[in-house]
Each structure stands twice: as C-alpha cells, then as structure tokens.
C-alpha cells in the first residue's frame, strides 16, 4: 500500500480525475484550494492579487502496482504545460482500518 499525494494547478482537476478513474482508483481525498510554490521554477499559487492562481491537492492510497502507471500518466500530463505545475509524491502506508 502506498499513498500518493498529488498537488496541481486547479485547472488540471478534471484531467487528473480522469486518470484516476482510468486506473481504477476509487478512493481519494481532495483539498479544493491549497496554496504553494514550487522549489525550482513556476509561478506561485497563492490566490491573491499578485498570484491569483490556486492549487488543489489529492491524496489517494493505492496498491503498489498501480503507482507506476499512475505516475507515468501524471508525468505526461505535467509535460503538456510548463506553466501550470503538477507534482506527485509517494510514501508508504504502514497500517489502515
């Protein structure tokens, strides 16, 4: 079991949802508006006057074999636009109910 944390420009939401569905990922948790800034490049997403765009984030817990195809597809999506921004992080799940 791995947990996958995806942070992305709000505009990507529908595409990401489609990727999740395509890969038979049913469960996830979404924060509609989150703010942040990339470590290297890209515009900050603050939702204020200077930087009006905002991020959303999705956390999903999936079985190990699903991680790679998901990450691949997210990487392809990220490559479509440099300016929007999309990041995903994976870590282990130790236990759950």
């Amino acid at each position: 079991m791995k947990s996958l944390f995806i942070v992305f420009d709000q505009g990507y939401y529908e595409q990401i949802l489609a990727i999740l569905n395509f890969n038979h990922v049913r469960g996830f948790t979404r924060w509609e508006e989150v703010q942040g800034r990339g470590s290297v490049a890209g515009e900050p997403h603050y939702g204020n006057h200077a930087w009006p765009s905002l991020n959303s984030s999705i956390m999903t817990v999936i079985s190990d074999e699903k991680v790679k195809p998901l990450l691949d597809e997210l990487r392809t999506l990220d490559a479509t636009s440099e300016l929007m921004g999309l990041r995903a992080f994976v870590w282990n799940i130790e236990d759950s109910i």
Binding site: G11, Y12, L83
Partner: protein, 1045 residues
C-alpha cells in the same frame, strides 16, 4: 458555487436564461412608443379670474394681489407671474421641474378656496388651467376650397373634425379661418327712424315669427290628431317677408328697413396656404397620449376622409410633428447600428479571432435589450435621450467581457482546459471587473437623482446606462465564461487568407507595444521633464477655453418657422392681409427653401380653442412656414430667419415682429431667449427704462426679436354719458349702453335652423352706418315712454387710450424686454446686455434683472456642477476601496485634467459651445477616463507585488495593458463616432455630447498612458525612499543604543 462556476457548468440553463431575457426585451421593444423627448411633466399652472367691468389697475389691486399673496405660500413655487388687464387677471405659477403637478394643483385649489371670500363681489370663481407640452399641435392641415368656401366650416366640422376627434388620443380639433355661417339683418337707421322702429322691436318680431308651437291634440272620429304650428323659417329669404309694423295703413316688411344677408360672421380670421384661401385644421392631443401614434392614425384616415368631401375641397397636411420625431429617431437608430458595427471591427482587429469576437459582441444585444425591459416596465419611450444612451453605452458594455475573455485566453494558452480556464480565469478578474463597473455606475447613477430641468432630461440616461452596464457585468461574469468554455480552442487552425491579413496587423501591434515600453521607460527615468511638459500642456490647452461660449440646449434645425407680425394697432384686416400677401410673394422668391407658407389674419372667434390661445387681432399676421429637409438645403433655418428679420426691420409699416426658428413647437431645441426684467411700480419710469433698453439692445451683436412686453396703449372710443341728462330722459347707463351695443355689435334675434344645425340671426346696423363718430352720436335711444333721444344729447364720444395690461412677477410690477439669441452664445449676449444695462440710468426704485434661458442655463449648470463634484467623490471612493489606498486613486485622478484639455481642444476645433449636453459629456468622461488608469495602476501594482522593481514594474505593466486600454478606448470612441458625425435632423442635440467625450477621451488616453506610469513611479519612489530612511534611522538608533551601552 459562484456565478461563473455554475454558468460554466450549466451551459443550457445559462444560455436559456439569457435567451429568455432577450425574448422579453424584444417583446417590450415592440410595444415601445416613439417620442422626441422623455415625458416632461408640466411645471406651470395658470389661474384665470374674471372681474367684469373692472379696469386693469382695479383688477390688479382687488384680484391679482390678494390671490398672489395667498398663492405665494404654495410649496416648491419658483416664480409667480401675473397679468392684470381689463376684466381679467391671469396668474401663472411656475414650479420646480420634477414635482408632482397633481399634488400641487390640489394645494393651489385649497389656497384659492381660502382666499375666495375676500375677493370683491362680482368676481367670478378663479379657474385653474394646467398648461403643458400637450398643447402643442400634433398635426396642422390646410383645407382649400373654391365653390364650397362659404360652407367650408360646416363641411370641415362634419366630415373632418368629427372624424379626427374620434381617433383615440386626439384632444381637440380646431378649425381656423373657415367662415361660420351667420344671417345678417343690416338695418338702415334712417328708415328705422322714419317708421319709428327700433332694433329691439325688430329682433322681437323675428323671434316671434320664428317659432314652432305644439297646440295640443284633438279627436276626429276614431283618431287623435296633434295640432302644431310650424312657423320656423325654412329658408333665410323668408325673413324678408316678416311684417315689422304699419305706417299710414301700409304694411312694413323687414325688407323695407333692412337687407337680409345669408352670410358669415363679420369679424373672422382668414387663413391662407401658399396664397390660396381656405381653412386650417389644428389637431391637439390629449395629455399623455403618443404623438406619433395619433399622427400615423390621422394620416392613415385622410384618404378616406378626402373621399367624402366635395371635389373642390382639398386637404393638405401642413406639418406633422411626428415627421420630425420619426426622422430624428431613425437617424439615431442608424447611429446605434453603426456604433455596433464599429465596435465589432475594433474587437476583431485586436483579437484576430472570430470566435472570441462573437463571444464579446454578443454582450451588446443582450445588455441593450435588457434596457428595453426597463423602458417597457416604466412606461418610457424610445426618444433622443434613451437612444443616445444606448449609443453611448455600446462602446462600454464590451469592456468587461474583453477583460474576462482575455484572461481566459491566457489560461488556455498556458495549457488549461477551456472549462477550468473559464472558471479560474473569470475568478481571477471578477473583482476588478466589478470595481470598474462600479466606477461607471458611480458616474451614471447620480444622474437619476439630479433635480431641475437637467434631472428631467437625464434621469433616463442615468437609469439606462446603469442598467446596461450592470447587465453587461453580469453577462461578462456568466455568459462570457460559459461561451468561452464552449467555443474557445487552443491554437485554432487559421486559414491562409486570415494569416496574410492578420500577420501584419499583429506585427505592428507588437511593435507598438515595444515602442510604448521604451517610451514609458524613458518617462519613468525623466520624471521631472515629463511632469513639466504635462503641466505646460494642460495650462496651454486650457487657456483658449475662454473663447468657448456657453449655451443652454443646442437649437435644432427642424425646418419650421413661426412668425408673428404686428402692424400698428387698429390696422384694418384688409390692409394687414395685403401686407401678408406681399411678404409671402417676396419670401417665396427669396427663399426657395420654403415649401409652405400658411398665415392667418384677423380676429379669431371665441369658440376656436387654438386660435384664441394665439395672439390675434385685425392688425396681426401669424405665419407658419415649413422648409425642405435639412439635408436638401444649404442655408440653415437660423440663417434664413436672420435674413427674414432684417427684411422686416427695413419695413416701416411693421411695428413689431417675432420670428421663431423651430416654430415654437417644442420646449426644447428652440432658440435661446434672453429677457431683461425691469421692476418698478411707476409705469412711466419703467416704460422709459424699458424702451431705452430695447433701443440699446439692438446694438448688441446676436440679439434679435427685441420686444417690450408692456403693450401699446390701445385707442378706443369711449362714450361718456351724462347721468343728469340720462335721468331727465328717464334712462340709465345700463339701458343706454345696451342700446349702443345692439346697434354696433348687433343683437342675436333668434336662431335659424337648417339640417339640424343652428345659425345666428344677427340684427345690426348696416356696416356703412357704423363707420364714424357721428354715426355713433346719432344713435337714437328710446325711453320707457317711447320718446327718442339722440346719443349726443345724453353724453359725448371721446377717443381715449386704454392703459396697458399690468404685468407682475414675484409680486412686483415688471416690464420685460425680451430677445432671441441668434448667431452668438449666451455668455457673450449676456455680457453685451450687462454692458448696456450699466450705461442706462435707472431711477432709484426701478431695478433690472436678466432672465430667460440664461437663468435656466445657470440653474442647470449649477445642478450639473454639483453633480460633477459628487461624481468625482464617488469615483474616488470606489477606487480607494478597490485599491485599499488613498494614493493610487489620487494618481489615477491625474487623467481627469487632461480630459478637460481634450474637451477644450475638441470644442474649439468643431466650433461647438459648452452647453448642457457637452457638460453632461464632461461628467461622463470622468468615469470613462479613470477606467484606463485603474487598469494600468492595477497591473503595475501586481507586477510590484510579484517582486519587480518600480521602473521594471511600470514598463512591463504598461506594455501588457497597452492593448486592452487602447481596445476599450477605441470601442468607446468609435462607438460614439456615428453620434458625432451624424447630420440627421435632431443631431444638434447629441452631437456636442459625443464630441466632448471623443475629444476628452482621446487626449486623456494618450497622455494618461505616459503620465500615470510617471506619476506612479514618483509616488512609489518616494514611498520606497521613505521606508528606507525609516530603516536607516532604526538601524542608526540601534547602533547608538549599543554604543551607549
């Protein structure tokens, strides 16, 4: 879910809601009536009181003054004007515009009820009369006839007036100039004397002979018969055979002492149209009904009416007020369509994509049509004000949509899907869209609250623009993102043709951006120079402002001229007619532009509503002229009028003349008038001042039609009876004067009935027996004993002059010297009048005051001036709350002075004046020019928040906002261009407004683009310096602290 999100997610609902709004709007539009101006409620009430037998000064002291002092307490009263003349007092109450006249009328009625008991016996109840624009005739027709002329009145009354009066909304139909039939019994006084008869006894005989009497009923056999005497005359010639007495055993017939003429009234107004005698028919509407509708209906029925008339009677429409209205409204509708087209071109030019253009353009019909719903719901009309509001708004409604669309496009270009781009793109700019809309509303909404004349005129403008702009904002936040999400594509494929056309445009636009960036960069580094230049430019451009004259409302060239020409008082109508014929022939030759001349000469009968409202008399010619349409003639109506005036001035037989360009047909759009009111109790003193002034005003440039209101002393014959002699002969004044009147004015003996109509039988001395003082003196008066006395033995006949009517304004006697302004502006004319006034010596208890259009202009300018300040304040408040700062709005306000420079330059170049319309244009400019500033400063701020340095932020901000600023400005300017260039009739009204806005906006935009970044860098620079200084101080203080320790 917010507005734009739900709109994007529910495209069906969104589009259907807007389609629904459009359907209701189109429905409302179809029902909208057409009119020239918004409905203006009358602001005057007239009170007419009759006091039979009292002289002018008696009426003044006993009726007018007590009424005035009571009526003076009515609220909202502006002026109280009165004229007291023989037998009659007329008080006119003038109120502020925009008051409910019905409430005021009730108030006036209460006040009159209160004062009634204090009026002398014999004064009749005061009559309240509301004057309104509805009194203006809708249509005037002429009827010419040949053989049917004697019976014309009856024909017209039966077949034309009755028909037209039946049309819904028609108030009254008056027939002028057609003789009314009357049977005249002209008595020969010599024969009368010989047979010992009197007019009274002859009238009595006629009355006795002309009766039908029912004599009851009787039974004959099984039947009941009624018995009747049918004595009524069947023909007027029967009168000749009436027996009026016996002399020496011989019967005297009426034909022995009189001639009976089946003729028409003696004193009558004759009407001529293009030289042919006939009658004129004037149609007035009921208050509140629609001119165009009535006129259309009348014109539709005319062929039907004509068919029923005798072949020699021809009906012609002399003028139709609705024609002018229709022309004007058509011209204006055309400008609205042109504006729409221009705006579309601008958007396409800057965006280069038809889909985007379509999305933006669609907001125009949606928001305009929404305003029709407002008009329909409030009972408004399509008029000059409402249509020019639409034309003004067209350029502004697309602004919000452009901003939203531009941002959505940026998001799509960054890689967002159209749907989420639409939602998030709109979200980002929603606040600034709302704020810029609020500044426009802050400008236009206060228009709905102005008082006075300006308020009545511009309330509709305020509402319409406010509604249109609000709807356009809602549209930009819902319809535009929805359409963008459905229609926009990333990298749409362009055809080859498109590329060849648009690539050079795009390249030049890019070049413009770069050059502008360089200019701003230079300006931001040479702040002092730029500010110095700007101040210099402002001062230099304002200086020529003093050459711009001021006016009230620009006069409109509608091709109608009304003239009143007065010959010396007492001139016979035959002579007056001769002068009229001569003038007509002369003018027709000299001014081929004139298509129709109609004139009336003589005294109007009392039963004629329209005629009796006009000035009339045997020495007065009233003329109406119509010219060909403005586009078909070289000379303007005003030039022709000036020329006519100088013609008349050269004719010594003409005593007084008033030529009114515009025909006095509308409250607005006529030429301005300037009056000087001379107040003072003493007639001689005020007369002297007024006459001297009138003489001097003739030398003032541009003043025409100079007239003194106090009429001439009218000559009359007065019969002064000696009471003692009367008493000796067993007579009294009442009996004696009755005899006099019956002989000169005549006695209605009876009524002659024919075909259900009644005509008067008038018994009177033959005309040849009442043409001299001797004839009057020789009148025989009989006393109760049957003895006869000549009038000259009872008194004497003297020639006297009756004192003129007494005019008062605000409870003081006044004489008005009135004039029309032509060929100059009000401020110059007023300066000229003031010069002349200073040169006249006035007695200490006489004082003068300038009135007329000048006062209305001053009032309106004052109202608009207050409005201007209020609007500047409101706009500042809106901006300050948007920026959460007092500095930025202050910076943006720097664009306002340059708008004023632009206005001065534009007015000078086009030779226009500063009038009410251009003043409104200036007010509108404030909202429009600050919009550009807001866009610029907002983006520069954003750049700085993103961490750029001041100059970098200014240059980048300017570069990125240049296109939207130019685009929104171009749509506004080009949207108004058709208004400014239009030459259709009525364009004089809105032209100054459009010229003002175009001039101000152009100059201010060009300068704003440089000045605002510069001023911004000055303020921001000093802000940065200040904070650095603070830091340094803190640092030093800290070091000092450490050192001290």
């Amino acid at each position: 879910m917010n507005l734009y999100e739900s709109a994007v997610k529910k495209p069906v609902m969104t589009s259907l809601i807007f389609i629904g709004v459009m359907i209701i709007g189109v429905f409302a539009f179809n029902k909208l009536p057409i009119d020239l101006l918004p409905k203006i409620e009358t602001n005057t009430i007239m009170i007419i009181t009759t006091y039979q037998g009292a002289s002018a000064s008696d009426v003044e002291t006993n009726v007018t003054r007590p009424l005035e002092s009571t009526l003076n307490t009515v609220s909202n009263l502006k002026n109280i004007i009165s004229t007291s003349r023989e037998n009659r007092s007329i008080i006119t109450l003038e109120f502020d515009y925009g008051q409910d006249i019905n409430v005021i009328t009730n108030d006036v009625r209460d006040k009159l009820e209160m004062v009634k008991s204090y009026l002398p016996d014999g004064v009749q109840s005061p009559i309240i009369f509301k004057f309104s624009t509805d009194m203006i005739p809708v249509i005037m027709m002429s009827a010419t006839a040949d053989k049917s002329l004697p019976g014309l009145y009856k024909i017209l009354d039966d077949k034309v007036a009755n028909q037209i009066a039946r049309i819904d909304g028609v108030g009254s139909v008056s027939i002028n100039g057609a003789p009314e039939r009357e049977i005249q019994v002209y008595i020969d006084p010599v024969k009368l004397e010989a047979y010992h008869l009197t007019i009274e006894s002859i009238a009595q005989y006629i009355r006795m002979e002309n009766v039908n009497t029912p004599a009851g009923s009787m039974d004959v056999g099984n039947q009941t018969y009624s018995v009747r005497v049918e004595g009524q005359f069947k023909e007027s010639s029967e009168l000749n055979k009436i027996v009026v007495g016996n002399a020496n055993g011989k019967t005297i017939f009426l034909s022995d002492v009189a001639t009976v003429k089946d003729d028409h009234q003696e004193r009558l107004q004759e009407s001529f149209t293009n030289g042919v005698q006939g009658a004129s028919i004037v149609v007035q509407k009921q208050s509140g009904s629609n001119t165009v509708k009535i006129a259309n209906e009348i014109v539709k029925q005319l062929p039907e009416i004509q068919k029923n008339l005798p072949t020699d009677v021809k009906l012609n429409v002399l003028f139709d007020t609705s024609e002018n209205i229709k022309h004007t409204i058509n011209g204006l509708t055309e400008t609205v369509l042109y504006a729409f087209f221009f705006v579309m071109l601008v958007v396409l030019f800057f965006l280069g994509r038809w889909r985007a253009t379509l999305i933006i353009i669609i907001t125009i019909p949606v928001s305009l049509i929404a305003s029709f719903i407002y008009l329909g719901a409030t009972g408004g009309t399509l008029n000059i004000i409402s249509l020019s509001s639409l034309s003004l708004a067209i350029g502004m409604v697309v602004d919000d949509a452009i901003v939203v669309l531009e941002n959505i496009t940026t998001h799509i270009e960054r890689g967002s899907r159209p749907k989420s781009a639409a939602i998030h793109g709109t979200n980002e700019v929603a606040l600034s869209v709302v704020a810029s809309t609020l500044t426009i509303i802050a400008v236009f909404f206060p228009f709905t609250m102005v008082g006075g004349m300006a308020g009545v005129m511009f309330a509709q403008l305020g509402w319409i623009v406010t509604i249109i702009i609000t709807v356009s904002m809602i549209c930009a936040l819902s319809l535009t993102p929805m359409l963008a999400s459905q229609m926009l594509r990333l990298d749409p494929k362009h055809s080859k043709a498109f590329k060849t056309i648009y690539t050079p445009i795009e390249r030049s636009l890019d070049k413009l951006d770069n050059n502008y960036g360089r200019l701003v960069n230079w300006a931001a580094r040479h702040r002092k120079k730029v500010v110095g230049f700007a101040v210099l430019f402002f001062v230099l451009s304002i200086l020529p402002g003093k050459f711009i004259g001021t006016d009230f409302i620009p006069p409109q060239d509608n091709g109608r001229v009304a003239a009143t020409i007065e010959l010396p008082i007492g001139t016979k109508s035959e002579i007056t007619k001769e002068v009229a014929v001569r003038l007509e022939a002369e003018w027709k030759k000299k001014y081929p532009e004139i298509t129709m001349i109609n004139y009336n000469v003589g005294q109007a009968s009392s039963s004629n509503v329209w005629g009796s409202l006009q000035t009339n008399g045997s020495h007065i010619i009233t003329m109406n002229m119509a010219m060909v349409d403005l586009s078909e003639r070289k000379r303007s109506m005003f030039e022709i009028c000036d020329s006519i005036r100088s013609n008349l001035d050269a004719m010594p037989e003409i005593q007084k003349s008033t030529i009114l360009a515009g025909g006095g047909m509308s409250m607005m759009g006529g030429q301005s008038t300037l009056d000087v009111e001379v107040y003072g109790f003493d007639f001689n003193q005020t007369d002297k001042v007024a006459n001297e002034l009138a003489k001097k005003l003739k030398s003032v440039d541009g003043l025409q039609n100079i007239n003194v209101s106090r009429g001439d002393y009218t000559p009359e014959y007065q019969v002064e009876f000696d009471r003692e002699k009367l008493a000796q002969n067993g007579l009294n004044i009442a009996t004696a004067s009755n005899y006099l009147s019956n002989r000169i004015n005549g006695l209605t003996a009876s009524l002659f009935r024919e075909d259900g109509e009644e005509y008067r039988i008038n018994v009177v001395y033959g005309p040849e027996y009442r043409q001299s003082i001797e004839a009057v003196e020789n009148i025989l008066i009989y006393n109760s004993m049957g003895q006869s006395v000549r009038l000259k033995e009872l008194g004497k006949v003297v020639e006297r002059f009756t004192p003129p009517t007494i005019e008062r304004k605000n409870r003081q006697r006044v004489v008005t010297v009135s004039s029309t302004v032509s060929g100059t502006t009000i401020d110059k004319a007023v300066a000229g009048i003031k010069d002349q006034l200073a040169s006249i010596e006035t007695p200490s208890d006489v004082y003068t005051k300038i009135a007329g259009t000048y006062i209305e202009q001053q009032d309106s300018f004052k109202d608009l001036g207050i409005l201007l300040l209020l609007i500047i304040l409101l706009v500042f408040i809106v901006m300050a709350s948007q920026f959460e700062s007092l500095t930025y709005p202050f910076i943006i306000m720097f664009s306002v002075p340059f708008a004023i420079s632009g206005v001065v330059i534009a007015l000078l170049i086009t030779g226009s004046t500063l009038n009410m319309m251009s003043f409104v244009g200036i007010i509108m400019l404030i909202g429009i020019v600050v919009k550009n500033g807001i866009v610029l400063v907002d983006y520069i701020n954003l750049n700085r928040e993103r961490g750029m340095g001041i100059i970098h932020a200014v240059v980048e901000g300017g570069k990125s906002r240049l296109r939207p600023v130019i685009m929104t400005t171009a749509t506004t300017i080009l949207g108004m261009m058709p208004l400014a260039l239009s030459t259709s009739s009525g364009s004089e009204m809105w032209k100054p407004m459009a010229i003002t806005v175009i001039g101000g906006l152009t100059v201010s935009t060009i300068l704003t683009l440089v000045i605002i970044p510069t001023v911004y860098s000055i303020f921001a620079g000093s802000g940065v310096k200040r904070s650095r200084r603070k830091m340094r101080h803190a640092f030093h203080a800290k070091q000092l602290d450490q050192h001290n320790k």
